[in-house]
């Protein structure tokens, strides 16, 4: 009897849940990505799939507009009042989703939280020495050194409510030593256009529009009409495309390249460049390579060998065959959206097998040599296929290239131990400023924070280091830009990397979805209009 009743209640509950779900579905915007955000904590993991959700809920002081330009966010204005002091005027009348006011205390708290050792967002606040509350709506950020691109970095630092975080025992991002789950892993309290209503990790995340959000006033900018949205991770490429074709989702951020042309026939596909460049680089430090048959010397120390490898690459073949047109071949290592880009330095050495062979002969490697190419196979778009194609091209000019492809979980630890002679990598620029690329990839690894932390070829060139230091401290924009351009010239002539292309990121959606394609691969739902 009781069993029967329990069953009856369960059916009733099920019917009720179904009915409720039906009424709540006004016109939800359903979007799918291959992977879920691992956390809802705004300062814990600095990864694209995390910020993709969080940026709908939380806001930074300075936002990015439709062309990635800086526009006022929670700060209405900002200026460097002294070389090491930036002053931010805060927006008035902004409320968090739980109803409490946004003020200077929250800014001080949030920036300090991003500075915590357990935060993954330290790169955006690395120069910050102190954050000072001037009055309720004014905050000063004191930096250790003059930091001309602090506003650019602050577009990635989300603001939290101090009182809410303290009340929920979340004043720091999750520490793995604690065995408990932190409140902020599944709960949010932002100031943004949407608030979190349901969070089931790896299954679904639901958000609802906040009608009182300050930004809806600006109808010319924030013209979206999405009231409900459901975010669904779908890992399998074929299934994600099928879900879009069958109309079960409205938007797919990362459709597989081989399906893009087919999707264009029945759906809408927006294409654009991503701020991420793929390149090859090599060990330019050791006197003898770890994975080569050349003994007693390192061929990659010779710029003629580097140039020969460069000219052996048929970038057009990679563009048309491997990438099916979804790439922008380049001669430099960041795309035009990044501050400091110079068109005249973005020129490739032409593909020329004879020139490559001649250069190798001049360098004393006319008989060729062997080397192993390390390559990830699940990190960048078609990474392994690019490596296969290029390995064949190098072998053709006499550099017998053995390909060693592996998943990213194995690849990155390997190169991070300097355990590679030649590898493929991709690099994105979250600050949209050239400094980040130069400092991380090309500055000598001298132990200073941030210097050469991804320079696993251990490239080291005094003039390059000098120019990078100017980029770090020079507040005069003209002088700073001149330094970037000079460094780009060295990059092109000294060939510390062999650039391949900027990745393109096609977005696929139903015909009735209108949105702005963003080079940072982040969808802004506040700009999504459904017909």
């Amino acid at each position: 009897m009781s069993m029967k009743r329990a069953f009856g209640t369960a059916i009733l509950a099920g019917a009720l849940a179904a009915a409720l779900a039906a009424t709540a579905e006004a016109k939800p915007f359903r979007f799918a990505v291959s992977g879920d955000a691992n956390t809802m904590d705004p300062h814990s993991q600095n990864a694209g799939q995390v910020t993709l959700i969080l940026r709908q809920i939380y806001e930074p002081l300075i936002q990015r507009g439709k062309k990635l330009e800086k526009i006022p966010g929670l700060a209405t204005s900002w200026q460097a009042v002294e070389p090491t002091r930036w002053r931010f005027q805060l927006r008035r009348g902004v409320k968090f989703h739980d109803g409490s006011d946004f003020n200077a205390d929250d800014v001080v708290f949030s920036i300090k939280r991003a500075l915590a050792p357990t935060s993954n967002y330290a790169i955006y606040v690395d120069t910050v020495a102190d954050v000072v509350r001037v009055d309720d709506h004014t905050v000063d950020v004191v930096t250790k050194i003059p930091d001309p691109i602090l506003p650019d970095k602050f577009t990635s630092v989300f603001m939290m409510d101090k009182e809410w975080s303290e009340k929920n025992n979340s004043i720091r991002p999750q520490n793995t030593r604690e065995r408990e789950e932190m409140f902020t892993v599944r709960n949010t309290n932002g100031t943004g256009p949407y608030r979190l209503t349901t969070r089931e990790p790896d299954v679904r995340t639901e958000l609802a529009r906040v009608d009182s959000w300050w930004g809806w006033q600006d109808k010319g900018l924030n013209d979206g009409n999405v009231t409900q949205m459901t975010f669904r991770p779908i890992g399998s490429d074929a299934t994600r495309v099928a879900a879009l074709l069958s109309g079960e989702v409205d938007f797919v951020l990362d459709p597989p390249l081989q399906d893009v042309n087919r999707l264009k026939q029945s759906l809408r596909v927006l294409e654009g460049p991503e701020v991420r460049t793929i390149f090859f680089t090599y060990d330019m430090h050791r006197d003898e390579l770890l994975y080569s048959n050349v003994k007693g010397k390192n061929p990659f120390k010779d710029v003629r060998v580097r140039k020969a490898m460069y000219q052996a690459i048929d970038s057009n073949a990679i563009h048309t065959r491997v990438m099916r047109g979804q790439s922008i071949p380049t001669g430099t290592f960041f795309p035009p959206q990044v501050n400091g880009y110079l068109k005249s330095e973005d020129v490739r050495y032409p593909f020329n097998v004879d020139a490559a062979k001649k250069l190798l002969a001049e360098a004393g490697y006319g008989g060729g040599f062997e080397v192993t190419l390390d390559c990830p196979n699940n990190r960048y778009i078609n990474d392994e296929q690019i490596c296969q194609a290029v390995a064949a091209m190098w072998t053709r000019v006499g550099i017998n290239t053995k390909l060693n492809a592996m998943p990213l979980a194995t690849f990155f630890p390997k190169i991070q131990k300097d355990d590679s002679s030649l590898y493929l990598m991709g690099w994105g620029v979250p600050t949209y400023d050239a400094l980040y690329s130069f400092q991380s990839l090309l500055q000598s690894r001298d132990g200073q924070p941030g210097n050469g932390i991804w320079n696993y070829g251990r490239y080291s060139f005094a003039e390059m280091d000098r120019l990078i230091n100017i980029m770090k401290n020079e507040l005069d924009t003209t002088k700073r830009t001149a330094a970037i351009h000079a460094a780009l010239k060295i990059y092109r002539e000294d060939i510390p990397h062999i650039p391949v292309h900027h990745q393109m990121i096609p977005w696929a959606m139903q015909k009735g979805v209108n949105t702005v394609h963003m080079a940072n691969n982040q969808l802004e739902v506040k700009w999504v209009k459904l017909d």
């Binding site: 993991q45 993954n120 790896d202 890992g235 699940n378």
Partner: protein, 328 residues
């Protein structure tokens, strides 16, 4: 009987320890979880701090001993990837996997056994040939391909069934079930069919060959000579005697279904343990992988135990032998 069960349970403890040890040893080769957790930018100090926090600087045997001690207490640590307790994550995903596996096993049995009997009895009918041809497809096509083909036909072309996910679920205490909503039931169809296909064909072919074997035996001939009805002979005598190998295989296959649900769950984005495992592998999330492998090992052990006990029910000879042996 009780001694037998106790003996088997003790054996299973050893099996579990072996599973834990092997999986733990393998984890050293899947990559460095610390680098994955730290993301693109970090300092050497941050790296070393995290290694210490996770206890990864300790020797292998210390890490293993710690793991076993806390695993015995049901404590599997915190997921590196999701920053949530592993036990809680698995408890959330378990219902999805079990519902899918049980549904698949049920389908395989209820369809596979009658098909096997039919093809065994009417060897030359066109329907039997048809079944056998179809079963070849089930055995030879890989699961992910079948899944994608089903999605293509039923979700994209016909638009009648969902291509991914579990639909709406209803919570009954800590168990979430998809059996009580229309969307939940619809979502179950394609993954369950995909998962059961291999097992179904296996069971069908097994029953068929066993039936052919049994039908040739003398006691069936005698039964016919006694003038028993065909139904009584085929089901009462023949089928019952084919069941011992069928139960063995089905039992082992249920463990296999749970373990191989990984592929089906990945194709259909079914939020079960298999999907959790794959995502953990990609992120070198060792605590989740260790817990999952232990749990699957545990399922295998329990299922085998149940299978052994079922033999007693089906095959009276085992009972007599045992009884006689213990009587001495």
């Amino acid at each position: 009987m009780i001694a037998f069960v106790v003996q088997r349970l003790l054996q299973s403890v050893l099996v579990m320890l072996a599973v834990a040890f092997i999986s733990f040893a393998l984890f050293r080769y899947i990559g460095d979880p610390v680098l994955i957790m730290l993301g693109q930018d970090f300092t050497r100090e941050q790296y070393e701090m995290l290694v210490r926090d996770l206890g990864l600087d300790q020797p292998f045997y210390v890490q293993f001993a710690k793991f076993v001690v806390s695993a015995v207490q049901g404590e599997f640590g915190i997921s590196y990837r999701l920053a949530r307790p592993v036990a809680q994550l698995i408890a959330e995903r378990l219902p999805a996997t079990l519902e899918l596996s049980m549904m698949a096993a049920l389908l395989a049995l209820t369809i596979g056994v009658p098909m096997g009997v039919y093809t065994g009895l009417r060897r030359d009918s066109w329907l039997s040939r048809f079944f056998l041809t179809i079963s070849l497809v089930g055995v030879s096509l890989p699961t992910f391909l079948i899944g994608i083909l089903l999605i293509l036909v039923f979700a994209v072309q016909l638009g009648v069934l969902p291509s991914f996910g579990r639909g709406d679920v209803v919570r009954l205490g800590s168990w979430s079930t998809g059996f009580l909503t229309t969307s939940g039931l619809k979502a179950l169809v394609l993954p369950a069919v995909t998962l059961c296909l291999f097992q179904l064909t296996l069971i069908m072919r097994l029953v068929r060959s066993e039936m052919l074997e049994v039908l040739r035996t003398d006691y069936i001939k005698f039964a016919r000579a006694r003038g028993l009805q065909n139904r009584a002979i085929n089901f009462g005598h023949a089928l019952k005697n084919t069941l011992v190998p069928v139960i063995t295989i089905t039992g082992l296959q249920i463990g296999g279904i749970i373990a191989f649900a990984i592929v089906t769950e990945t194709v259909f984005q079914w939020p079960g343990m298999g999907l959790l495992f794959i995502q953990s592998v990609n992120n070198a999330d060792v605590p989740v992988m260790a817990a999952y492998l232990l749990l699957v090992g545990f399922f295998f052990v329990v299922i085998n135990l149940v299978v052994d006990l079922l033999y007693y029910v089906v095959d009276p000879r085992l009972r007599i032998d045992r009884g006689a042996a213990s009587g001495h």
